[in-house]
Amino acid sequence: MSKLFKLLSLFLAVGVVAAACSSDSSDDAGTAAPAETTAAPATTAVELDADGSLLDTVIARGTLNCGVSGSAVAFSETQADGSVTGFDADYCRAVAAAVLGDADAVNFVALTASERFTAVQTGDVDLLMRNTTWTQSRDSDVGMDFGPTTYYDGQQLMARVGDGFDASSTVADLDGAIVCTNAGTTTEKNIAEAAELAGADIELLAFETSDEVYETFIAGGCDITTTDGSALVGRKVKQQPADQEWVIFPATPISKEPLGPTYGQNDSAWADAINWTVYATIIMDEWGVTSANVDDHVNDPGEVGRLLGGEGELQTVMGLSADAFYNVISQVGNYSEIYNSNLNPVGLVREGSANAGWLDGGLIYAPPAR
């Protein structure tokens, strides 16, 4: 009896495992006909690419799979309850609000830098909101398309005033320095190039996580840290110890880092939906429409009214509901709101930066909605 019992439990264990594994193999999960040849499961986008847009797939699925970093301060942080917040995360929510009408219908997928493009190609995520710099090779060779830039960033350096640096220091002053940065990103390459151009001899130390970079910097293991200016500002505001004074330089970043939504190429319906979500937040910001007062503006004449669904044709032609952008503004907010709520706490302000509206001398600009 007990022998049989042992064998049974063994079988059961194996069976449970097999069952658990089968949950992931969705080849037959949702399909009704058992012997039908491999019908495309609803979750994979690969097959649908041929005959439809990802937009239809996402609407049919009811959730948006949005690829984020999950560990980028103020851009996409995983919070204590597992939710993802931040500038990038809010744009994911904005797209979900526009496409699905519900800003919470987002399934955040945390991706590492090396797996992000593959995730888009294989359809694991519909959209990448992951501090991805728009570059020529990514746009062409890697097979990505880029939406409007939501944040203009640039690589800068941070040093201690005590070492003789000030805001007017240049890369040439780095001679002999140990420079710390994140491993596996383009920042490594940028600083090496810049230092070579300026004739400075530097030693590079690459760390796996950014927190380790700053811990080392605070302790003195690095003389200089370098990464995107947005991150440097945040760290300076939050982490500068009382006995040190840090300075960020040079005023002109050593690289251009335009960050924005990224998605698979040659899917124009999906691209339009995302692009115009971003534009809508910018336009509403220009008109001063916020989540608080959006209800008063629904029937405004002109651009605002058109976007908020007063005359909804522009949206319905795109495959969205007429009130798509009303949902974006009411549930998430306009560009300023998204920016200020996420980035002000880490010391980043719009005024005077490249991310100010074009009327204020910045680069944030949207085409007209007509």
């Binding site: 090396s114 190609q121 070492d163 003789g164 640096f165 002053d173 780095l174 001679d175 002999g176 320095a177 140990i178 491993a183 596996g184 490594e188 390459k189 090496a192 400075a200 001899d201 030693e203 590079l204 130390l205 690459a206 760390f207 796996e208 380790e212 811990e215 080392t216 302790a219 003195g220 293991g221 003389d223």
Partner: protein, 510 residues
């Protein structure tokens, strides 16, 4: 003698059961069935992978080895490698470097820990226990990361920092110590030392003989070491007289250069065939009874056929793949040429040179200069991680090995009058060593494999470099293949060495 097997087999034939009840038939059918399933699955998976790779346009060739890559390594023999292959090579050297240093220090520390665990001193004993229990129960990766973040809070570098200023510096930029390196005259000096070793061997034999004849304690090992040391010291001054040795290697190099490709092909094939034949002969001899009666079961036949098949396949590979042979010839020639060039130095070269670490102020920052041997923070984290972690396991092996020597052995040793030190040397250690060695060999293997966790703190070992390479080129499969090949050969080397010791020391039983 010859008719006995025939008559038995005839009997077997006559009584042959139906196929589905014949144990031998069933046995082989089952095995072939499994082999079939395994091969089919492998074929299926590879064909799938091939299709998928093609569909996704992912190349999986090895041309990245020669192509330039854009990689910066944190440390190694070459921090700006110009090709993917060079980068992986640097990574391999880094892995081997940290493994060897790690094995040496883990062994020393492990022995200390093991002895501490056996100590009569209560505090030392407890400290050893704490060390073992703590380190064994925290994942190595967590430890490495932890040491890494602790090391970064060491004091900053100033122009006059270091516990022994001018000799030894510890700071959050790493640990810097004097560096001894091989200079041009090293290889000539090495010849002197080798001659010294030969002389030392004969001195050892001579002293042993004196001991055997007179019974006096002659400490032959000490003498031999002294002789070798003497040669080494003298060699520092007289080594240029051996500069002519280089021409021997030059001759070897030109010999290799002039050999046709056929020679290594024939040699390799010959080795394979002769090796197989010898093995079979030995096998048959072993299975022959004292009266010369040979009894082989199907399993034995399988082994013989398998060996023959493998050797024939090898011969086929050697003959058809002439690239392998020319590679052997070319690399042999290159090797000897390199050695020859090592002897081509002027007489004044020194075998060694040493440099003290220095701190130089360049630009605005005081940093370690290139003269000292600097251990980066990443290296130190991985190093301390693997050494501490492995030392806990080796310590347990040492303790277990010493405890495994039966109490009776120690009693018998003291009963025949051996002193404690003598008993330790002649009775306890030789027996404990047998118990300690196999698991410790496994720990060496583990240590080597564990250095792959360096990826977590950015030490440029082969896995970290490989990851960077395939992130840039997209050639995951080839890189993974190179990893596996590299680690397998490391493991093989270590286990061959350990096994060699093991076999030599096995106790003879009935």
């Amino acid at each position: 003698m010859s008719d006995t097997p025939t008559s038995t087999s005839a009997k077997v034939l006559s009584a042959r059961p139906p196929l589905w009840r014949d144990a031998v038939v069933l046995k082989w059918v089952t095995q072939l069935f499994l082999l079939f399933i395994v091969l089919t699955s492998l074929w299926f998976l590879t064909s799938q992978a091939g299709d998928n790779l093609e569909a996704r346009d992912i190349p999986s060739d090895f041309n990245f080895i020669e192509r330039p890559v854009d990689i910066q390594l944190s440390e190694g023999i070459d921090t700006h490698p110009d090709s993917g292959g060079r980068a992986l090579w640097v990574g391999m050297v880094n892995t081997i470097r940290i493994s060897i240093v790690g094995i040496i220090f883990a062994t020393i520390l492990g022995i200390i820990v093991g002895l501490a665990r056996l100590s009569n001193n209560w505090l030392v004993n407890r400290l050893g226990t704490m060390w073992v229990e703590t380190l064994r129960n925290i994942p190595l990766l967590v430890q490495i990361i932890f040491y890494f973040s602790v090391l970064t809070v060491l004091p900053r570098v100033t122009l006059e920092s270091g516990p022994i200023n001018g000799w030894f510096h510890i700071s959050n930029k790493g640990i810097s110590m004097p560096r001894v390196f091989l200079a041009d005259g090293f290889y000539q000096w090495l010849v002197v030392v080798l001659i010294g070793a030969v002389v030392g061997y004969y001195v050892h034999r001579h002293r042993t003989r004196i001991h055997n004849e007179t019974g006096t304690i002659t400490s032959p090992t000490l003498w031999a070491l002294a002789v070798i040391t003497l040669f080494a010291i003298v060699g520092i001054f007289i080594h240029p007289i051996f500069s002519w040795v280089g021409s021997i290697f030059g001759a070897l190099a030109s010999l290799f250069d002039s050999l046709p490709v056929l020679v290594p092909q024939i040699v390799l094939s010959g080795v394979a065939l002769v090796g197989a034949a010898m093995w079979v002969r030995k096998f048959i001899r072993k299975h022959r009874s004292a009266r010369g009666h040979l009894s082989l079961v199907d399993d034995d036949w399988f082994r013989i056929i398998f060996t023959a098949a493998v050797s024939i396949i090898l011969v086929f590979v050697f003959i058809s793949w002439s690239g392998l042979s020319s590679w052997i010839l070319n690399s042999g020639r290159d090797l000897f040429e390199v050695i020859e060039s090592k002897f081509n130095v002027d007489g004044a070269a020194r075998p060694f040179d040493a440099m003290r670490p220095e701190i130089i102020q360049k630009g605005k920052f005081p940093n370690y200069g290139p003269s000292g041997l600097t251990m980066s923070v990443s290296f130190a984290a991985v190093f301390f991680g693997v050494v501490f972690y492995t030392s806990a396991f080796i310590g347990e092996n040492v303790r277990g090995g010493i405890l495994a020597v039966p109490k009776g052995q120690i009693e018998a040793a003291s009963a025949v009058g051996l002193r404690r030190s003598q008993a330790l040397r002649h009775i306890i250690l030789p027996q404990a060593f047998r118990v300690i060695l196999p698991p410790t060999g496994n720990q060496y293997l583990n240590l080597t494999k564990n250095t792959s966790l360096a990826i977590a703190v950015g030490y440029s070992d082969i896995v970290q470099v490989g990851t960077t390479v395939f992130n840039q080129t997209g050639k995951t499969l080839p890189v993974v293949g190179i990893w596996m090949l590299f680690y397998l050969s490391c493991s093989l080397t270590i286990s061959v060495i350990v096994n060699w010791f093991n076999v030599r020391m096995q106790l003879v039983e009935r």
